[in-house]
């Protein structure tokens, strides 16, 4: 019985260790390329400063070119801390992500062309690490609009994104 207890404790400890987010694995530049379209995101670790506590997070920017023409370029110098009460894009942050699950990030995305929810960002994005150099990028407009607008009576018609919504990206 005692042995079972020790094993259980070890298993729980391991589960606890592996249930932490592994932000380091996401840091870097990730690229998706198909035909003439190049979509890049750059991710780095950061801290969101809230009123009475800090949240460890990932900050990022994005870039899109089509047929050699740069359509969107929001990869800029990203700060290491961000005051969560301020407008993220004004701090060169175009997505912020957090998680408590390994190999997973949920994020809020600021599509500068589509300006979802009056430009205040749309949550519901997900990034799954499916290998050390492979990242599944997915945007979910419906989910993001729901949690931010349900009950408001505001228009919730999807307007789409200016970047790919469901692609596998490779680490550069």
């Amino acid at each position: 019985m005692k042995r079972i207890g020790v094993i259980l404790a070890l298993v729980l400890t391991c589960m606890e260790m592996f249930s932490q987010a592994n932000y380091d694995a996401f840091v870097g530049t990730w690229v998706y390329q198909k035909n003439d379209t190049v979509f890049k995101i750059q991710l780095q670790k950061g801290i969101i400063k809230f009123t009475s506590w800090d949240e460890y997070a990932i900050f990022g920017g994005y870039y899109l070119s089509v047929k050699g023409m740069v359509k969107e370029n929001y990869i800029k110098t990203i700060p290491t801390t961000w005051n969560g009460s301020t407008h993220a894009p004004s701090c060169n942050i175009y997505l912020y992500a957090s998680s408590d699950t390994p190999n997973y990030l949920g994020f809020t995305f600021y599509d500068q062309r589509m300006q979802h929810i009056n430009g205040t960002g749309i949550p519901g994005g997900k990034m799954n690490l499916i290998g050390s150099d492979k990242l599944h990028w997915k945007l979910n407009e419906e989910d993001g609009l729901y949690v931010m607008l349900e009950g408001s009576g505001e228009d919730m018609t999807p307007r789409g994104f200016s970047v790919p919504i469901d692609v596998i990206m490779t680490k550069e």
């Binding site: 969101i48 009123t51 949920g106 809020t108 009950g151």
Partner: protein, 450 residues
């Protein structure tokens, strides 16, 4: 067309002489001959329900046969109520169960009340138990023409009293003892309310299941059904604590019925269904939304002027199990406008996962939180980071991460949850509310309410 046809058949059956059996082999349903014609719409709805769920077999096995022709009808607030005695399966059995129906303009509620429940209630509240059990003895005399073991005798309607200017109580005066030396055991009035003050489990919601408790639409009936079983009464708890609030909501039968109605709608969701809900005022008035859309609903501002709100519930027919950010803004706005009766207030979101409910356990903290929700963009960022966390453990994670959000923001709100659970036959049950906590890492737990 079918409804009209069936109604005519039922009506015809109701006009026949009263039956002597309990089951109509031909109809595969209870024998309803001789029933008061006012019961016919109810019977036809139950028949339709039985056609799809066959609850009669279970009902008969558990309780016996309803004696429709001995039903007692009485007015009650906004409904017309009927008490239908149920004859047990043993030959010498007294009436041990009464099936109650409350008929409202657009739906009918029904529930079973058994002597066992009554005894449990008596054990909880004390007394001689006559108040809880008299109706079984009444029907033993009136329907079975037999002297009950209690020896109770009744004089009907001697104490008909007026509850208000428009409502009349139907009562009996109970006596026991020997002729000429009867003991007065008081006046007892017909009601469908008092016996549900026991801490019963929430009645079954949704489709499927048996049929002792539930609701029926006046159109094609919604689901409902299943036995409402009694549990031990709760222990004394601080009524202002999350545990006390959970206990209080779980004992609020009117609230349970309304939550079940919303839940039934969500369970039977079809694309295009609109949100629904209600606001209840401290005066006991229910306010319905004036505008209902797929992802929003509104109340007329004028209907809330001068009102204090005790309940505000709405459903997310195909959405999250917790409040959206605008939901929080509406709540904060109502508070700042002085529209919330804080001590008695609960806010609920009904989804397919159950009923997520928030109560204010610290007004001081909630006041600050409400201000932040309305004016500090940082709260929205916190909400977003909360939503970013993955629901590794389904609804439990979703609720837990919302609790984490509320705790981090020192919101003054506590979360209670009435969870949906599904049985093998497709029946859905909502549990009583439980006070929930989280470990800061989306790990849910129940408050220790013992």
């Amino acid at each position: 067309m079918f409804t009209a046809f069936f109604f005519c058949c039922c009506f015809n059956a109701c006009l026949q002489d009263k039956g002597s059996g309990g089951y109509d082999e031909e109809q595969c349903f209870f024998d309803v001959s001789g029933a008061d014609e006012r019961l016919c719409p109810i019977i036809s709805q139950l028949k339709r329900k039985n056609d799809s769920t066959d609850f009669v077999t279970d009902f008969v096995g558990k309780y016996g046969y309803p004696l429709w022709w001995n039903a007692y009808g009485f007015p009650e607030q906004e409904s017309l109520a009927f008490a239908v005695p149920v004859r047990g399966n043993a030959l010498d059995a007294e009436i041990e169960a009464v099936w109650f129906f409350s008929v409202y303009s657009d739906y009918t509620e029904y529930r079973i009340y058994t002597r066992e429940m009554a005894n449990r209630l008596t054990a909880a509240v004390g007394g001689d138990g006559v108040e809880e059990t008299w109706m079984f003895d009444y029907f033993t005399r009136a329907a079975l023409h037999r002297k009950p073991k209690s020896n109770l005798m009744f004089i009907e309607d001697v104490a008909t009293t007026t509850r208000s200017t428009i409502e009349i109580e139907h009562c009996v005066h109970a006596y026991a003892g020997y002729e000429g030396a009867e003991g007065d055991l008081g006046v007892h009035c017909w009601t469908t309310v008092y016996f549900v003050s026991d801490n019963i489990d929430m009645r079954e919601c949704g489709g499927g299941g048996g049929g002792s408790s539930g609701s029926l639409d006046t159109g094609y009936g919604s689901g409902g059904g299943g036995g409402a079983s009694a549990s031990q009464p709760g222990t004394q708890t601080d009524p202002t604590s999350p545990c006390g609030k959970a206990q209080s909501l779980s004992r609020d039968y009117a609230l349970k019925v309304k939550v079940c109605e919303l839940f039934d709608g969500v369970q039977n969701y079809h694309v295009g269904d609109t949100e629904n809900g209600w606001i209840k005022t401290a005066a006991g008035q229910y306010i319905a939304p004036t505008e209902r859309k797929e992802k929003s609903m509104k109340y007329s501002a004028s209907s809330l002027i001068g009102q204090k709100i005790t309940e505000e519930y709405h459903c997310h027919p195909a959405g999250t199990c917790f409040p959206s950010f605008p939901d929080l803004r509406v709540l904060a706005t109502r508070y700042q406008k002085g529209q919330i009766d804080v001590a008695n207030f609960s806010y609920g979101v009904v989804s397919s996962m159950g009923c997520f409910t928030m109560v204010i356990t610290s007004e001081e903290a909630f006041k600050v939180f409400a201000e932040k929700v309305l004016n500090d963009p940082g709260v929205k960022s916190v909400y977003n980071t909360m939503h970013a966390k993955v629901n590794t453990n389904g609804v439990n994670s979703a609720i837990a991460k919302f609790i984490d959000f509320l705790k981090k923001e020192v919101s003054g709100l506590d979360v209670l949850f009435s969870a949906a659970s599904f049985d093998d036959s497709g029946g859905v049950t909502l549990s009583n509310w439980q006070a929930k906590d989280s470990n800061g890492n989306a790990g849910i737990s129940n408050y220790n309410c013992n």
